[in-house]
């Protein structure tokens, strides 16, 4: 049961014709649910007095009153209470004035000679329901306007042609701009050229979704400010794109800290590498016999020492890599290329190691060519990591690589016949420094960062990476790369 049915609806009829008023009163008296409380005044003056003194839910208004005629009658009541619905009572079937009043905000109009119970009931109820719905919409809008205006983020609303049509106070403050700088200006004017190009490359409107990224925006004084922005496409009820909303924050401070962190990691890495070089080369020279003969025991210890140093060196490289990836400072240099060729290239570099361990190397590439768009060095890095892992943990059997084309891209896999990974561990296989389950034999030890790095690199390509494994059944790592977009 709706709210309207619980309380009496207060109707005010302003009508100078007593006969008409009696007819309407009698009709209204018949209404049972909801109940109506009927009030009646003969002229505008009394009507207005009542209207201002008492609460009224709906007004039935004759436009021709002894003390006021025409649209002015409607305007007077409307001014006195713009939130109260007004229904015009008209004398004729096609009353231009009544229709005009509806155009100016009256809820409806009724031709007096045709009024009957069900019609009046319906019109009154609808008038009130519509008014309440409008109030709810207004309240909701008001709520969002408050959020919009008081957000501590800049917000711009752009129409279908890319013109700025709305923005909030924070946007003005952040960019140091005012209405003159923003209203109906193309949103492109807010971005440095290369940043605008990047934005266009995201094809947000074509994709019709939301994108989040770091960029730069112009301030009024033509200096650029670092922001992170989230752009959402606006659509009408039929799904047509009508514009977009950009929500952005100043990230100058974050960028400064990122730079500091990068510099710090870079400096620390450099500082670590210098003593490592001395230790490594010192140990190597003794091991190589440059400084005289050594015993087998000495040799063994020095070889282990050297492995430790090399591992430390890999950890530093991986840490540098991941810190750059985290800071978003790695850009892909994507080019069209043949994945099969890349797989064969990486495979070839592992041949001596496969032969050493007596492992079979299986390539399963059913097609002649697999043309995709990717950063060759980065995909080599991913593949080297996956094959390196497989090699590390597989003592007998084979390592197989496969390429499988699917409707939206290609799935690459590296499969080994090693001991497998327990399902609990499998969940964390792409976490940083997660090394578990697999027992190390002699040889190169990992850094615990390789798969984490691979994951970021694959995702930067718009692909996914995942693993399947069962203890005793070997492990399969997969990664996908999306198809080359039609237009590029």
């Amino acid at each position: 049961m709706s709210e309207i049915e619980n309380q009496a609806i207060r109707v005010l009829l302003i009508e100078d014709d007593t006969d008409d008023a009696v007819v309407i009163q009698e009709i209204i008296a018949e209404f049972k649910r909801p109940k109506f409380e009927f009030n009646y005044r003969k002229n505008l003056k009394e009507g207005l007095e009542f209207f201002l003194r008492k609460e009224v839910d709906v007004v039935l208004l004759d436009l021709s009153l002894p003390d006021c005629r025409g649209l002015r009658t409607f305007h007077k009541i409307q001014e006195a209470g713009p939130e109260v619905p007004i229904i015009i009572l008209s004398g004729f079937e096609s009353d231009e004035m009544a229709i005009q009043a509806v155009g100016e905000g009256a809820q409806d109009y009724l031709v007096k000679s045709t009024i009957n119970g069900s019609m009046l009931f319906r019109v009154l109820r609808y008038a009130i329901e519509r008014q309440r719905a409008a109030k709810r919409i207004y309240a909701a809008e008001e709520k969002y306007r408050t959020v919009f205006e008081n957000s501590a983020v800049g917000i711009t609303v752009v129409d279908g042609q890319g013109q700025i049509i709305s923005w909030n106070k924070f946007c003005e403050d952040l960019l140091g701009m005012n209405r003159e700088d923003l209203y109906q200006k193309h949103v492109q004017t807010l971005y440095p050229a290369e940043e605008w190009q990047k934005l266009c490359d995201c094809k947000i409107r074509q994709k019709g979704n939301q994108e989040h990224f770091d960029t730069k925006m112009f301030r009024k004084n033509a200096t650029a400010v670092d922001v992170d922005i989230s752009i959402s496409v606006l659509k009408d009820i039929d799904g047509n794109i009508t514009g977009s909303i950009g929500i952005f924050r100043d990230i100058t401070e974050r960028k400064r800290l990122e730079r500091m962190k990068d510099e710090f990691i870079s400096t620390v890495s450099h500082e670590l590498r210098t003593p490592m070089t001395i230790v490594r080369e010192g140990v190597s020279q003794v091991l190589d016999g440059i400084l005289g003969e050594i015993t087998d025991d000495q040799r063994q210890i020095l070889e282990i020492t050297l492995e430790g140093i090399d591992r430390l060196s890999r950890i530093i490289n991986d840490l540098l890599d991941i810190s750059k990836l985290d800071a978003g400072r790695v850009e892909l240099k994507k080019e069209r290329g043949d994945l099969k060729e890349v797989f064969e290239h990486v495979g070839a570099s592992f041949q001596p190691a496969f032969e050493n361990k007596g492992l079979k190397w299986i390539c399963d590439f059913p097609q002649e060519k697999y043309e995709y768009s990717f950063d060759r060095d980065k995909i080599i890095q991913v593949l080297t990591n996956l094959i390196g892992n497989a090699l590390k943990f597989t003592d007998k059997g084979s390592i197989a690589v496969r390429l499988t084309e699917e409707p939206d891209g290609v799935v690459c896999s590296v499969e080994d016949t090693g001991p497998g990974i327990a399902s609990d561990d499998l969940k964390h296989v792409f976490d940083r420094f997660s090394q578990f389950g697999r027992v190390y034999g002699p040889g190169e030890k990992g850094t615990g960062l390789g798969l984490a790095i691979s994951k970021v690199l694959v995702e930067m390509h718009g692909g996914k990476i995942w693993a399947e494994s069962q203890l005793g059944q070997g492990t399969k790592f997969f990664f996908s790369l999306p198809k080359i977009a039609e237009n590029g």
Binding site: R273, T274, M276, T277, I278, D288, I290, N317
Partner: protein, 122 residues
């Protein structure tokens, strides 16, 4: 005749290690411990190759490389960077200024020697 290599590094122990390795492999070695001295010794010694660190106080490796490459007397001498700075940008910059190669620290002696021999064509 022995090929002469100039090792420029501000870290004395690195110079010591690199020199030891090079001498053990039949090279003649001279050293310098900053960029300015590196440039002066390049002029004076006319080595067959310069192994040049990047991060050094005063005249750094890039600047030293630029000085060597812009002086007609030394421009033809191949210079290989030997540095702990190993990011793509560093490699690109070194190549731009005229380096013939890039060895990252910590280096593997075999790989370093192979690169040196390739540049010297010995």
């Amino acid at each position: 005749m022995k090929k002469k290599i100039l090792v420029v590094d501000d870290e004395t122990y690195i110079s010591l290690m690199v020199s030891g390795r090079l001498k053990a492999n039949g090279f003649e070695v001279v050293t310098a411990n900053d960029g300015q001295m590196g440039y002066e010794k390049t002029l004076a010694e006319k080595p067959d190759l310069v192994l040049l660190d990047i991060m050094m106080p005063g005249v750094d490796g890039y600047e030293c490389l630029r000085m060597i490459k812009t002086n007609a007397e030394t421009a033809a001498i191949p210079v290989m960077m030997l540095s702990a700075k190993a990011q793509q940008a560093d490699l690109a910059k070194a190549r731009e200024v005229g380096a013939s190669g890039f060895i990252t620290k910590p280096f593997k002696a075999d790989e370093m020697l192979a690169q040196i021999r390739e540049v010297l064509a010995v």
